[in-house]
Amino acid sequence: MSDIIIYIKDREGNKHTLLAPTDMAMNLMEVCKAYELPVKGTCGGMAMCASCQCYMLSDHQLPEMSVEEDAMLAETFYVKENSRLGCQIPITKNLDKLYVELAPEI
């Protein structure tokens, strides 16, 4: 079984449990969209729109932030210490039970 569990707290505070495949080169933004959660992913995953910004609520080891992601987070709104762009978080086995909250819509 190559699926992992991801918990998403939506903008109304509801918690969703998602089953995410680790073998399809998906990222967190894409998993949210696949479950029809209100994540736009406007730029398609290029770290260029910040519509997939989320707050990391669990302390999983995440991939290091790229220059592009860091620059986008410097420009967008509602940014917190634990902000990341969902499109820059590949779904990997070590992210099982990751818990994230969707940032407000921009």
């Binding site: 736009k40 406007t42 730029c43 290029m46 260029m48 729109c49 519509s51 620059a71 410097a74 420009e75 967008t76 709104f77 509602y78 940014v79 407000p104 921009i106």
Partner: protein
């Protein structure tokens, strides 16, 4: 009034290719786009990114795809209304349409096709309480006439190229320029960053980082802003103008109020036939439409453009016979008098 056969809203790859497909059917086209240049997202957001799923191109930069499309449609002489957003759609008694832009430019056509992608690109507005109240009363997201700022106190927010460029430009126009950015680092072009540093060292501008504008003040017009610097007490700064420059993001915008059937921020169309919307004569193609099984891919937009143009031909020329042709057979006859076609085979006898 601009007159055309097919009025295309959106000059992204799908809108541009519509010009070609319409041209093969001898239909004239005109494009409207909110951005100042054609290409949509490909030009605005990711011109340097490679695309790998355009059939026949193992790899092509988005910007080059647009260049190629512009070359491909050149002989069909499309018209362009750029830098203006399609604002209203009016249906006339004879079932033709008038589309008016935010600048008041009017376009008349029997067929309208919306190829608007994710919508028109509009400035990102920072979430500061009451910001709408001061729009055009001290707050502007786009600088149209720099003279407005002559001898005024201006505060600019943002860390990208436009924030840096306008800071540099307005330093010699305004009486006081303050640049506020949430980080100490700026991601703009190196020479712009260096220039801003130099202006700051010379005392020509004020630079406040890492900080944000958190409050706006003024009875009817903006008179001051509150700047909150990390770890310091907020300061109030008297200003005449506040220019937030946080880039652009696409919004469906006025199209959403045209009486079209909308689902999840996209326009519902009849995909089993011709990508027409619930308003006969108005089509929607490319990323802006939705139907069961829709794939938001450039190649889907190209296909939808071809199908849609055949239907538009019938609408514009009711009852007039036509059979789809292959360009390999019939070539491409431009409206500029040019003709591209395959070289004729020659037969020579040997005696």
């Amino acid at each position: 009034m601009i007159q055309t056969d097919i009025l295309i809203i959106g000059a992204g790859p799908t809108g541009l290719f519509t010009v070609f497909e319409a041209g093969l059917l001898k239909l004239k086209t005109h494009l409207i786009d909110a951005l100042p240049q054609p290409g949509g997202q490909c030009s605005e957001i990711y011109p340097k990114k490679p695309i790998y799923d355009i059939p026949g191109f193992p790899e092509i930069l988005a910007g080059d795809l647009i260049k190629n499309l512009l070359k491909q449609i050149e002989s069909f002489e499309p018209g362009f209304t750029l830098g203006e957003r399609a604002e209203t759609l009016e249906r006339l008694e004879d079932d033709t349409f008038i589309v008016t832009t935010n600048r008041g430019t009017k376009h008349h056509a029997p067929v309208v096709v919306i190829a608007g992608g994710l919508g028109s690109f509009e400035p990102r507005k920072p979430p500061i309480a009451g910001i709408e109240k001061y729009e055009d009363k001290g707050i502007a997201y786009i600088i149209r006439d720099p003279e407005v700022y002559r001898d005024k106190k201006v505060v600019i927010a943002g860390g990208g190229d436009s924030a840096l460029d306008w800071t540099i430009f307005l330093a010699s126009v305004a009486s006081e320029v303050t640049l506020v950015h949430r980080r100490n680092e700026f991601r703009g072009a190196l020479d712009s960053v260096e220039k801003v540093q130099e202006l700051k060292n010379l005392g020509k501008i004020n630079l406040i980082t890492p900080a944000e504008i958190t409050e706006l003040h003024g009875e009817t017009e903006l008179t001051s802003v509150t700047i909150t610097k990390n770890g310091a007490a907020p300061i109030q700064l008297e200003v005449d103008h506040f220019i937030p420059l946080f880039g652009l993001s696409p919004k469906l915008g006025p199209i959403g109020n045209w009486g079209l059937e909308i689902e999840k921020n996209a326009i519902k169309v009849d995909n089993s036939y011709d990508y027409q919307t619930n308003i006969p004569g108005v089509y929607a193609i490319g990323d802006v439409n939705t139907y069961k099984g829709k794939l938001k891919l450039i190649l889907s937009g190209f296909h939808e453009a071809a199908v849609m143009c055949q239907s538009a031909y019938q609408r514009i020329n009711p009852g007039k016979k036509y059979l789809m042709k292959y360009t390999t057979v019939s070539g491409v006859e431009g409206f500029d008098g040019s003709k591209k076609e395959a070289k004729k085979e020659t037969v020579q006898a040997i005696y």
